[in-house]
Amino acid sequence: MQMSTTEMGDALVVKVEETRIDAAVAVRFKDKMLEHTETTTKRIILDLEQVEFLDSSGLGAVVGSMKQMGRGRRLDLVGLSPNVDKVFRMTRMDSVFRIFDDVESAVQDIAHAS
């Protein structure tokens, strides 16, 4: 499960460098997310631009990644491909995340908010 991180101002961008988050890698994904998010208090932006396929296990792992960040911390999502976006919309989980087109618009949003 290849993932990379980049700090951008107040945010930590976690980029998934895989084409799939499915049952085969969901647990590893969630563990890696914990590693990346537990040592910082920054806002977390999850970049899914390279992800072409997300199944229900992958969706559960993304939800779980926000949950394990603790109370009140948000996980924002960017770069959803049509198939990935469809899973979030069909399960109505698009309502529990803030979803942006790309990293730039996500980062700008916090600039406007603060």
């Binding site: 049952a23 396929f53 296990s57 559960g60 939800v63 198939n83």
Partner: protein
């Protein structure tokens, strides 16, 4: 019900889901990694149907959910058994048949696939329970049966319908 009893009652007109040509037939050990490969091969077998990316996405999703369920629930993780997958092209779309010799479905019935926030209203952030919800959204004419220790899951995906 003994299945032999109904064998001779062939309906005069085939139902809309009547099986057409077999597009692919595979058998493999039910591991998550093998499911990935099998789904990828199944999508290649659909090439002649010229499905849109969205349709292929639906097929990919439902196959992954149904087959991963076999890997996760039907067999013990440390001893995965065989699963068989058959794709057919029928008048009303792509027909999927999945067979395994693992545990039966809970209560002998396929889950209703209600949204996890309905079954657990206190959990606003459910991490599971989406698999059957997605299957039920995308599958048509879903049938589950078990005979001689074998699970049969059969359903249709309304893509690539053939003109009558």
């Amino acid at each position: 019900m003994p299945h032999d009893a109904v064998l001779n009652h062939v309906p005069a007109t085939p139902p809309a889901t009547a099986a057409g040509g077999v597009l692919s037939r595979t058998a493999f050990r039910a591991t998550f990694d093998n499911v990935r490969l099998a789904v990828s091969e199944a999508l290649s077998a659909l090439d002649p149907l010229n499905l849109s990316d969205e349709e292929l996405g639906s097929v990919q999703m439902i196959l992954a959910e149904a087959l991963n369920n076999v890997a996760e629930h039907a067999y013990p993780t440390n001893n995965p058994g065989q699963v068989k997958l058959v794709l057919r092209h029928g008048r009303a779309g792509v027909l999927i048949e999945i067979r395994d010799h693992g545990q039966p479905m809970p209560n002998g019935r396929p889950p209703l696939g209600r949204h996890p926030t309905e079954t657990q209203p206190d959990d606003r952030l459910p991490e599971g329970g989406f698999g059957w919800f997605l299957i039920r959204q995308l599958a048509r004419d879903l049938i589950y049966d078990r005979e001689n220790g074998e699970n049969f899951l059969i359903f249709r995906i309304a893509v690539g319908e053939r003109p009558a």
